[in-house]
Symmetry: C2
Subunit: 556 residues, 2 copies
């Protein structure tokens, strides 16, 4: 191959990546956990902050503050019935007592129900006394019909790994957990179409597909816990979106149950089907507010054989945009990730962990590019030609290219390690947003200027704020604006909100790019949606769930 | 490159493609045009039969039979008002008389309105007396509000290139034609997001994008006439779906007007936006029955620099499936089309036109594979390695590879020329359907056996049916079942229907893969959708269009 020569000749500053101790072995900061209004500080496991969490790593759930106390403005809707022994008896008769876990109403609970009441971030905690685990779509239908007739509110629950409190109760809503519906129903190796129960864990589905040389068209940090039904219900974004597109395109069919027990039987295994309104789309991202998804049919791409990762330093956000444009142009069909990290976020990683960063000098911006394709030689050649171009033209100032799996993981840790490191000093105010790509980083500058002007940023303990940083999925125009703090501070909060939301609104951005609304973002939807759109959404909610029993107090 | 050697050494039967006179110069058969029930014979221009038509190539519209006569069972809904001079005066005041074309109510019509009453296939013809051409979303809003208040039924109309009669009136519905709303509003070269009025012609949008090194993620035969709003309203499939996915994934936002005049302002320029139900999806494929799309925002991919086309002969449908699986595996990210043609369809091309086909021998099946990517050397190498494999393992019996643009066009004509050639002897019964890929071709065999058994297929004029053929977008599991006939025949029709629909239903297929429902498929939706789904669709229709004024007598 002629490439290596060309590459060696021109890329003086570009180098293959020196082995660095992987970030993961050093990241173990203690983080203060707190939830105030829409801002949050969380102790997130080492994973992208964009992809939901992993359960069971934290202290017993009973130490978490009840959502009903944290949100005193939310009142239990008195039209909902309270659970009675008769209700419980009905569900135990329907499902068997091992699938209807009760608390407080009897003493023979086989399993503690507290984990179903609280979320993995330890931010939300409900008061449910009953967790139901249906084993079939028909059982889900029977449950919902009964709840609807008896005005019993419910919360659909998958892996309970969401970031906005959507999958746990606020008051005494009955939890309907899908974990017992976990069969892969079919897979067609020719078309790549998988049909599976909603309760199948994402990683299980992906491992199953790996054996068939395919992948699930969605990947995220919580893959070991989250369920594919929950992924679809929350329209999860994740790491493969740039390449494989959103679930609105990949999900071919769903089976779902409406509150009145109606089974929506739209589990199409067809890539094309132009016979009427595409109603299933309302359930994708509907966050369990109009029905419960019980199965999905999804188009799965072939698994790529080759993967490359490069990491750059750049002098301006304009050059980041130039690099993205060039990457799309030159890497085209093999580009699978384009991530942005600002210099401040990278400095804070070193500050928090002592980690040696991949590049020697300091740059205001860094990017991580991943390619994946079917031919490693071709991919390397494309990537090297691209690197040569961006270095020679000065778009990129410096960069490294991973040479093996360990280096790939290490480069990724410069992006994925950010959320955890930012919590090192006390807490973080976090925002997950979409903006037109050209405006995206300006929000970080403007927010920083605002807090600086108020004299609240500094290197010593007298200043609450350490810095204002930005990073995220550049390829999807999805920015994570984070404000790491030494302590939570009302003054800072007043500077951040509604300023950030108003800024996003002015640019027609989204206040929730991929995390959804849940309870956390519900009050702020007006910043991203017009009154008309909200009215149309409420119409849909009323159409499918006239009694409002589905996941109340959340969404819209 | 080492590839050429490997290729030459092993692919003895594989050859570079000899220059053949392009099919297009020979295809000019005269075709009998007729419409009977759900089956159709059409004089289609030379283009894929899957992608809608080109206007203005046929005889004056006034010779077309009225739909109201062809479908005597459909009665005008008497609740709709009849157009009065007062109505006309209102619209002329609103739009100016040059944008409100009238017929029969005054003599100063500047433009003949007949072309707006009839479709390009000459199968459908309405009785409208008024064509409105709004120039802005606000005008569309004013029009619909007035029509809704006055119970005036309307038909939204784009390029009027549909195949199911969805874009022309049945009775006296007012035509609202979007052709004057044809501005490209914005394009972001970094994100690839285009925002444009609904009335922009697809080819205009694609040419605009070509200058920016991007493409519209949809391509179809009617591109010179069809409008992007109509494409979205009908969820057009076309030639790029295998690679770039459906409009449900690519359309990021829409602006639409509801019958009551409400402007749905969901013209998001964001790739990710998880703030509420994705209501725009109901308009994608809604065929103008709940509102009129006035603008769209769509994600456009980079334009590929390299293109290759190969054409194979194969001995069985199992081998076609094997080839598709191998193509997905080995060509992976560069595979952009995988088309199926059976041997009978290829024989009929030669019979109709005398065209010399690319391969010497005869094979029961043929496939066309297209690759497109960013590096022609890499793509050629991948394709040649793939060809080597499928030839050596005997999956493919014979094949050719195009060496230049002319040969690419000629190979494509073996697929694209089928619809026109099939009409050569008189007419064609046509079905556009989706089926699970493993069952797809069996429908052709079963249909043929049925007609053969009845003694209706033969080489001489005493038999009405020439053959039963299958071809289509294998990559999308989208089959075109076609029955070319010497003359239309009630016996044949009775054998075809409901047999074909029942067969599709048994396999959970779709009776309309990409053409939509319109008036043609409306009666048959029950074969592809359950009563529950139809009920849910009717709910949506009633929610948005309680007076039923939008595109009546069609869809569901």
């Amino acid at each position: 191959m002629a490439t290596s020569t060309r590459f060696a000749a021109s890329l003086r500053r570009f180098q293959h990546y020196p082995r660095v101790t992987p970030c993961t072995s050093r990241f173990r900061p203690a983080v203060q956990v707190r939830w105030t209004g829409s801002t949050a500080a969380t102790s997130e496991p080492h994973q992208p902050d964009t992809e939901g969490g992993v359960k069971g790593k934290t202290a017993p759930a009973k130490t978490i503050k009840f959502t009903s106390e944290a949100y005193p403005d939310i009142q239990r809707n008195s039209k909902f019935a309270k659970l009675t022994p008769d209700h419980v008896k009905h569900f135990q008769g329907l499902l068997g007592s091992e699938s209807a876990l009760i608390d407080g109403l009897s003493n023979d609970a086989a399993e503690d129900i507290e984990p179903f009441n609280s979320d993995w971030m330890r931010k939300y905690r409900g008061h449910t006394k009953l967790v139901l685990k249906p084993k079939s779509t028909e059982e889900v239908s029977e449950i919902l019909k009964y709840c609807n007739n008896n005005l019993l509110a419910v919360v659909p629950q998958g892996g309970n790994t969401g970031l906005v409190g959507g999958s746990v109760p606020v008051f005494d809503e009955i939890v309907i957990n899908l974990q017992k519906m976990n069969n892969i129903r079919s897979f067609d190796e020719v078309s790549g179409i998988l049909v599976a129960d909603a309760g199948v864990i994402l990683e299980v589905a992906d491992n199953f597909l790996a054996e068939k040389n395919h992948i699930f068209p969605l990947d995220l940090g919580a893959k070991g816990s989250c369920q594919i039904g929950g992924n679809v219900a929350t329209n999860a974004g994740g790491l493969r979106l740039l390449r494989y597109g959103s679930l609105h395109g990949n999900v071919l069919g769903i089976e779902a149950v409406l509150p009145d027990g109606t089974i929506v039987d739209d589990l199409s295994k067809l890539r094309k089907n132009n016979t009427g309104y595409d109603i299933k789309q309302l359930f994708i991202g509907g966050e369990g507010t109009i029905g419960i998804i019980t199965a999905i049919s999804i188009l799965c791409p072939q698994r790529s054989r080759a993967m490359n990762v490069a990491y750059f330093g750049l002098e301006s956000y304009e050059k980041v945009q130039d690099t993205f444009r060039e990457a799309k142009n030159q890497l085209s069909e093999i580009l699978s990730a384009f991530e942005l990290m600002d210099g401040r976020s990278q400095k804070l990683i070193t500050k928090a962990t002592g980690k040696k960063m991949p590049l020697e000098g300091e740059h205001p911006f860094y990017c991580l590019i991943e390619t994946s394709g079917s031919n490693s030689e071709h991919d390397s050649e494309k990537l090297e030609t691209f690197l040569e171009h961006v270095m020679e033209t000065g778009i990129v100032s410096d960069g490294v290219l991973a040479e093996n799996e360990t280096q790939i993981r290490d480069l990724w840790s410069c992006r994925e390690g950010i959320p955890e490191c930012l919590g090192h000093w006390g807490g973080v105010y976090k925002y997950d947003l979409s903006l037109p790509i050209e405006d995206m980083y300006q929000l970080v500058n403007d927010t920083r200027a605002r807090i600086e002007e108020a004299g609240l940023i500094g290197n010593d303990d007298s200043h609450p704020v350490l810095d204002v940083v930005g990073y995220g999925h550049m390829g999807d125009a999805n920015l994570h604006l984070n404000v790491p703090v030494r302590r939570y501070n009302k003054e800072v909060e007043k500077l951040l909100e509604p300023f950030v939301f108003e800024w996003i609104q002015k640019k027609n951005g989204s206040i929730s790019a991929e995390h959804g609304l849940g309870i956390a973002k519900k009050p702020f939807i007006g910043y991203s949606r017009s009154d008309t759109m909200i009215r149309l959404m409420k119409q849909i909610k009323d159409l499918y769930d006239p009694n409002g029993i589905m996941n109340p107090y959340k969404y819209i």
